[in-house]
Subunit: 409 residues, 2 copies
Amino acid sequence: QKRSSLHQSSNDLSKQKRVMVIGGDGYCGWATALHLSNKGYEVAIVDNLIRRLFDNQLGLDSLTPITSIHNRIRCWKSLTGKTIELYIGDICDFEFLSETFKSFEPDAVVHFGEQRSAPYSMIDRSRAVFTQHNNVIGTLNVLFAIKEYREQCHLVKLGTMGEYGTPNIDIEEGYLTITHNGRTDTLPYPKQASSFYHLSKVHDSNNIAFTCKAWGIRATDLNQGVVYGVTTEETAMHEELCNRLDYDGVFGTALNRFCVQAAVGHPLTVYGKGGQTRGYLDIRDTVQCVEIAIANPAQPGEFRVFNQFTEQFSVNELAALVTKAGEKLGLDVKTISVPNPRVEAEEHYYNAKHTKLIELGLKPHLLSDSLLDSLLNFSILYKDRVDSKQIMPSVSWRKIGVKPKTVMA
Amino acid sequence: QKRSSLHQSSNDLSKQKRVMVIGGDGYCGWATALHLSNKGYEVAIVDNLIRRLFDNQLGLDSLTPITSIHNRIRCWKSLTGKTIELYIGDICDFEFLSETFKSFEPDAVVHFGEQRSAPYSMIDRSRAVFTQHNNVIGTLNVLFAIKEYREQCHLVKLGTMGEYGTPNIDIEEGYLTITHNGRTDTLPYPKQASSFYHLSKVHDSNNIAFTCKAWGIRATDLNQGVVYGVTTEETAMHEELCNRLDYDGVFGTALNRFCVQAAVGHPLTVYGKGGQTRGYLDIRDTVQCVEIAIANPAQPGEFRVFNQFTEQFSVNELAALVTKAGEKLGLDVKTISVPNPRVEAEEHYYNAKHTKLIELGLKPHLLSDSLLDSLLNFSILYKDRVDSKQIMPSVSWRKIGVKPKTVMA
Ligand SMILES: NC(=O)c1ccc[n+]([C@@H]2O[C@H](COP(=O)([O-])OP(=O)(O)OC[C@H]3O[C@@H](n4cnc5c(N)ncnc54)[C@H](O)[C@@H]3O)[C@@H](O)[C@H]2O)c1
Ligand SMILES: NC(=O)c1ccc[n+]([C@@H]2O[C@H](COP(=O)([O-])OP(=O)(O)OC[C@H]3O[C@@H](n4cnc5c(N)ncnc54)[C@H](O)[C@@H]3O)[C@@H](O)[C@H]2O)c1
């Protein structure tokens, strides 16, 4: 009770030191939990490990071998002396979530804990419904837990740049000032998401914005670009701390997937024309951005939106970069165009703003030859673990149906 | 099978005559089902009757006595010879919904079947979660059923004007053309919903828009204003066809509630300053608008948005109109301002476009003395059924918590 009142009554934001990382067993969450622990924050991980179940159910695996969350945390403790608390459970179960709040008393919650693959959400009806239920209800529960138990707690929520789609005008950070028929207002930036996963993030953003206004919740929505890379300062400290790296057609994201393809001699798979342009960032910047958001919390009632990426690339540009880096390592890298399984523009205007995190101090790790080298070398190191059958896209936006898909193509 | 292929293969839109009315036991749905049946459409009602359960659970009741859906439909058959098919079940149960689609083979689905009260969604955490789950997942299921079983079926989905909130610029119908940094695009109109219910409608709109683009679904989103009135041509035909009329603090909407308050000598309850301005329409226009939408279906892949209301009023203007009409009937009508249970602007700019339904032939029933007379007389007729304890607002946007509220204030 003392701890609680101390933190709640204090307006000194530097006291906001207890951080709950929901989804802390995942790719971004694990790296972030270690980074925050290393920086001196008290960290708790909340995760139901369902991502490991998805991998089992679809017959997929991380390129890198990852040990159990229990071993990971024990290893961290033995290396650094730092404790990371662990709560295993589903945030859609409000009783469970309440207990984590009452027990850990977070000053900030970083919420990574969602089903995060667009293709997964387009496999079949039940996964589409699962994705929206899991993400929307989980986030609603987090909002209610903050309101009920930790009113001053700062919510740092992971959204995605995909919420914006590819409008023909510049993408701003969350809001757009519009003049129409002689009057002006600053309104939420229009969203055009293009999968049930991306839509779930738009729903979350709308729900969170409302609770900031109605309840005074303080929230930062991080519209994150596509993350690449595998090591951070902390995960590099021991092989048991190694992060996951997804290369398959369901969970693998563009640049990571290309590096693994190059390493195993599989052609780089460009979907359609390859003009799809998106924002990208190094996982070392993911952890940096989250720490910046926590160290500079939103005000009570403020719904703050940051576009969290450092550079824009088209898919064709990425393929060219990986080809060049691969050739330097003696790899023979080919590129093929595969029919686009998604419904999306393959050539479009794209200019997204991303200055707010820079203004708060982000020092970007821009995509470099050395990063590509290390990612390719990682991929070569683990190339025997690659299951080539998992590389091609197996989920079609147009062919999704109501019949449960029990085995992937 | 013959019926199916006949309708599916035909491009002649006048053949789209089989209409499934989801939520057909409710206020708008019942009036619409009868109207469409009267106009020669083949009608099926799909409803799990959960609205009747909400009333039981909260200790509320319609001002007007309503009989069972079974009696309603039997009465309609005996009066007109027309059959309305009935499917009792929950559209969140996809197995059930599939069977209704396979058995009825709709050419159009009118989807009223949601939890539709903003205060209900703000009672407690579990009702907030229920509202978003029920509405979002129900609508996802309808979209999947259309894709799987009736690709050409036109979805007519009830949204609400409340999705837009109260921006400081004119409200357009669904889309806004924006020029920004020298480039122009037409984007979804920014949404600023202000309850978990209104948010669920925004989520629906975003989900539907995506499926139009990705799957070629044809959809009309009717952003409906606040509906008033109780009788339509069809419900007036027999007392067993009588529609429900809600006057309580949870389900009662502005004008209907004021008329009942005036009839029982309760002061009209204006929330806060009363400058809240919204779009309104007569229930006779609800049924007309839906028929117009069905008769002029959206194209495959088109996500069409109509603002479905006929006039704008502020709450203070409505109170003044009801006061004047009440005095003509010899009622002594008082108005009080009660603390606003909602979080909303009480004075704001409001100018919402609503020309698209007019262009398609809507002939509005504007709010008139005779309508107010008849609504007041209805209220006087049933005034003994009024439970005064249910009139005041009992749900607070700011005080909502996680503890289940089992009895209302
Ligand atoms: N990886 C990217 O490139 C990327 C890009 C943009 C945004 N994001 C967002 O960042 C977040 C993390 O992404 P990631 O790549 O680390 O995903 P991930 O799948 O590796 O991690 C997500 C974690 O959340 C957990 N989780 C899911 N649902 C849960 C629930 N109901 N209760 C408790 N735990 C639950 C999973 O078990 C998993 O460990 C996601 O919200 C994602 O949408 C990721
Ligand atoms: N009444 C208004 O003023 C108004 C204004 C704007 C929009 N709308 C919209 O119009 C629609 C109808 O409103 P109404 O006033 O007739 O509401 P209502 O509560 O009277 O009717 C809704 C009906 O849907 C049914 N239903 C709810 N969830 C269901 C489910 N999962 N499966 C099957 N049936 C389900 C209920 O049992 C009920 O009969 C709603 O979507 C509402 O949001 C109404």
